[in-house]
């Protein structure tokens, strides 16, 4: 159970990215986060594993206060949050397998990992994860030689290496075409349903939300403006979330 209460983030320039956002995510849920670009979706996801330091508010995860964790504790917490990014954020010059193994860095002994030595079982695990997302044959290739869809699979495999209890997906399909988008979303769905991993996923397209999400929260200018089931978003709600002039597409 993830409990976010009164989460506020004000950036150095005075921009209020999040404004007293409060919500809960039960274990095993697929929660979609929607809203316009710049509405605070990315900031919200990054506050949860404190890649972005929240200004105020509290995030409690299974009884552990994330906002009060020390750096050392934070590293231990982070390794159980897998993260998937819009632009994949792979190290483009490293091989696919190195990128996947990087997901294990929070667990392995730092001294050995600096020499690029990973335990045997981790390498095997990496191969299994790559098989699972269908890129096992690309293990030795450089990450930037892969297509967009393949790169995002590497990103998912990297997140899976962390044995995550929750996956934070920041617009994971926004830079992919519709066919690839569905295949990536299916992987996330499968991880959610088979492994029981909670998924927090920000999305742009409402059809994806309808198709995959259990529940939706919507942000507008940093404020939580909607919380409920995907089917509850009618035209009225849509205009509240996206503004008066918005038109539905897809």
């Amino acid at each position: 159970m993830l409990q976010v209460s009164n989460l506020t983030k004000i950036y150095a320039g005075g921009v209020k990215a999040l404004d007293r956002v409060t919500f809960e995510v039960p274990d095993g849920q697929f929660l979609a986060v929607i809203g316009l670009s710049g509405s605070g979706k990315s900031t919200l996801l990054r506050c949860i594993n404190r890649l972005v330091e929240p200004t105020e508010g509290q995030i409690v995860w299974n009884g552990e206060d994330i906002t009060a964790a020390t750096p050392e504790e934070m590293r231990r917490i982070r390794r159980r949050f897998g993260m998937v990014f819009q632009h994949f954020n792979l190290v483009s010059r490293s091989s696919v397998i190195t990128n996947v193994l990087a997901g294990r860095l929070g667990y392995v002994n730092p001294a050995w990992s600096l020499l690029n030595r990973f335990p045997h079982q981790d390498v095997e695990k990496a191969m299994r994860q790559m098989e699972r997302v269908g890129i096992a044959d690309k293990a030795g290739q450089r990450a930037d030689e892969l297509s967009g869809g393949q790169q995002q699979r590497v990103g998912i495999a990297r997140a899976l290496m962390q044995d995550p209890e929750m996956i934070l997906a920041d617009e994971p399909v926004a830079s992919l075409d519709p066919v690839l988008a569905h295949s990536i979303m299916k992987h996330l769905e499968e991880i959610n349903q088979q492994d029981g991993v909670t998924v927090l996923c920000s999305l742009h397209f409402l059809d994806l939300v309808h198709r995959y999400a259990d529940r939706v929260i919507a942000l507008n200018e940093g404020q939580l403006v909607f919380e409920g089931l995907p089917t509850e978003i009618d035209d009225q709600k849509f205009k509240e979330i996206y503004g008066r002039d918005a038109e539905r597409v897809g």
């Binding site: 990087a102 860095l105 392995v108 990992s113």
Partner: protein, 612 residues
């Protein structure tokens, strides 16, 4: 649309600006003494022509020559009849000359006819002042050219050198030996020095690159801005450095002394070099498990720390033995390998370097290790302990850290300026440091973090910028004094300059990496060092290689002139020959520099294309 009428003020402004620019350039002409009338002077043009001709004929190839010399007596002015008659008749079996007339007034003209010389050869025909026919000083610039019979006929203007005694004319006729010209002395020495130059640049670049990389991380804003620590942690790490360095240095000395009895035996060295690292490896394997999900208890951690210390000592021992091995093997090979003895010499030098640097490395490693360990403990304590206790702790350790920093600075000042008054250079600075530490600790909230990363960043940047502004040539002057004239001084000067300039260039590359991968690796729970290795290093490899190549290029060019101040390399020869007005030799060296620099340019651009 209405076109705006040009304002009168605008025209005036432009006019004034034009006048100002003209004045600036006129003043520039005056300051830099632009003077083209000088160029028109006969004398300058003549010298210029001579120098350009010499430069166009680099002293690289020359025929081996043989020569015959003949002298003929001559009176200036004409003496009494009997002295003229007393002149010996020329020996017609050897090359000889006949001067007609045999005496002349000063600045008069004589005809010289030579016989029995080499056929179709030539050489200088000169007046030899004084009464010694072997005098090396000659006057005039006559030339004798022989025909197929070895005979020549020349007219010579005599100088204004009247004398009562007999004087001489000398012809030196030379001919080339062999069909092809041979390399000259200058060519050989130029080759020697250009090789020295290239290697000087190579070593400087290698040293510079290795040391610039860690510096560049410290001078990269994007890496350092996130580094913040509580005061206790910072103070403890400040204390950890000097203490750790002393411990490391002493440990290295102790281990070095321990291995001394083994040092002379090659077999013992070899055994130690194999066994000690194996032991260390096993110890480390146990002490650093590859993965653990729960943090271990205190007892196990202590045992691990001891094992790691043991492994470090074993590694130190191995390093010393490796140094001894390299030195022993090197001196052995130097005798054995004959003309490849320099390989043995190289091995010996490497051993020597290893032996000298091991204590320094040990000190740095121990300093770093202790400092980071203490800093982690400080962090831990600040997070766990109640604020009041942390405050008290901060007061103590920050005062100690302040006293340590200023005390060490005071010792440095004493060493440089020889003040010899410990109350000024040690006790007062320590007191000031302690008091500033107390003030700082009193002002900072006990649980706050301070931006120590940005502090290190600023200091590193400042040092880089200051040192970079000193030209390598100036550094070379200092190093020549430190290690003597020769290429080693050049290596050190260029190396230092390479460190600071590459440090800056590299750090700019680190600052421009994509933040995405950094964020992604951070999000997996990796620590800072892991993030650097997995997200930063792969991104900066291509620009680093490219800049290193570029720097090697610069270093080759710099090393050609570092010899001007005694830093070794070809510059020394070049300067010497320019000073001796030996322009043909200087031309040979300039040509060598041009060839090497052009070749380097070509090679480095090729490699950059291939690697990056």
């Amino acid at each position: 649309m209405k076109t705006k009428p040009t304002s009168i003020w605008k025209s005036v402004r432009i006019g004034l600006l034009t006048v100002l620019v003209l004045v600036v350039f006129a003043y520039g002409f005056q300051i830099t003494q632009v003077d083209l009338t000088e160029l028109r002077s006969e004398q300058r043009q003549e010298s210029l022509r001579r120098v350009l001709r010499a430069l166009a004929k680099p002293d690289l190839f020359a025929y081996e020559q043989e020569e015959v010399i003949a002298t003929a007596p001559l009176f200036i002015p004409c003496p009494s009849e009997e002295s003229l008659a007393a002149l010996p008749a020329p020996d017609a079996t050897n090359p000889y000359m006949v001067i007609t007339p045999a005496c002349a007034e000063p600045e008069g003209t004589v005809q010289v006819e030579g016989f029995n010389f080499y056929p179709n050869a030539k050489g200088p025909l000169r007046f030899v002042p004084g009464s010694d026919p072997a005098n090396t000083v000659t006057l005039g610039n006559g030339i004798a050219i022989t025909d197929a019979q070895g005979h020549f006929l020349a007219t010579l203007e005599l100088p204004d050198r009247p004398s009562d005694e007999v004087q001489y004319l000398r012809a030196t006729i030379r001919r080339n030996l062999g069909a092809l010209p041979k390399l000259t002395e200058t060519a050989y020495s130029t080759w020697d020095k250009i090789v020295e130059t290239v290697f000087l640049a190579l070593l400087a670049t290698a040293i510079g690159t290795v040391l610039a990389i860690p510096l560049s991380f410290m001078a990269a804003r994007n890496l350092m801005a996130a580094v913040r620590s509580p005061l206790a942690s910072i103070s403890l790490s400040v204390l950890g450095w000097p203490v750790g360095m002393v411990i490391g240095f002493l440990a290295a000395r102790w281990v070095g002394a321990l291995g001394e009895p083994l040092a002379s035996s090659l077999l013992a060295n070899l055994a130690a070099v194999v066994i000690a690292p194996l032991g260390a490896w096993q110890a480390l394997r146990w002490a650093l498990p590859q993965e653990e999900l729960t943090p271990p208890g205190t007892g196990i951690r202590l045992a691990r720390a001891l094992l790691i210390a043991f492994a470090a000592l074993a590694l130190l021992f191995a390093l010393f033995q490796l140094a001894a091995l390299a030195m022993n093997l090197g001196s052995l090979l130097e005798d054995l390998l004959a003309s490849f003895g320099f390989l043995g010499g190289f091995l010996y030098q490497i051993g020597e370097i290893l032996r000298l640097t091991t204590p320094v490395l040990a000190a740095l490693a121990a300093g770093g290790a202790l400092s980071s360990q203490l800093s982690r403990m400080g962090q831990h304590y600040s997070e766990r302990a109640p604020a009041r206790l942390v405050k008290a702790f901060n007061l103590v350790v920050t005062a100690a850290a302040g006293a340590t920093i200023l005390g060490l600075l005071g010792l440095l000042i004493d060493a440089l300026y020889q003040i010899g008054e410990p109350s000024f250079t040690l006790w007062i600075p320590m007191a000031v440091g302690a008091i500033s530490g107390l003030v700082l600790a009193a002002m900072v909230k006990p649980k706050d973090t301070l931006p120590n990363g940005m502090f290190i960043y600023t200091i590193t940047r400042t040092i880089l910028n200051f040192t970079r502004s000193v030209e390598a040539l100036v550094m070379a002057i200092v190093f020549v004094i430190a290690v003597g004239i020769g290429p080693f001084a050049g290596v050190l000067a260029l190396g230092l300059h390479t460190i600071v300039s590459l440090g800056k260039l590299y750090s700019e590359q680190v600052e421009s990496i994509l933040p995405g991968p950094l964020e992604a690796v951070d999000a997996t729970g990796a620590n800072r060092l892991q993030t650097i290795i997995y997200a930063v290093v792969p991104q900066i490899v291509p620009p680093f290689i490219s800049y290193t190549m570029y720097r090697w290029d610069i270093n080759v060019r710099m090393s050609t002139i570092i010899g001007f101040v005694g830093g070794g390399g070809i510059g020394f020869l070049l300067q010497q020959n320019i000073n001796l007005l030996n322009y043909r030799a200087a031309a040979a060296q300039m040509l060598a520099i041009a060839v090497v620099v052009a070749a380097m340019d070509y090679i480095s651009s090729y490699l950059r294309q291939r690697v990056v």
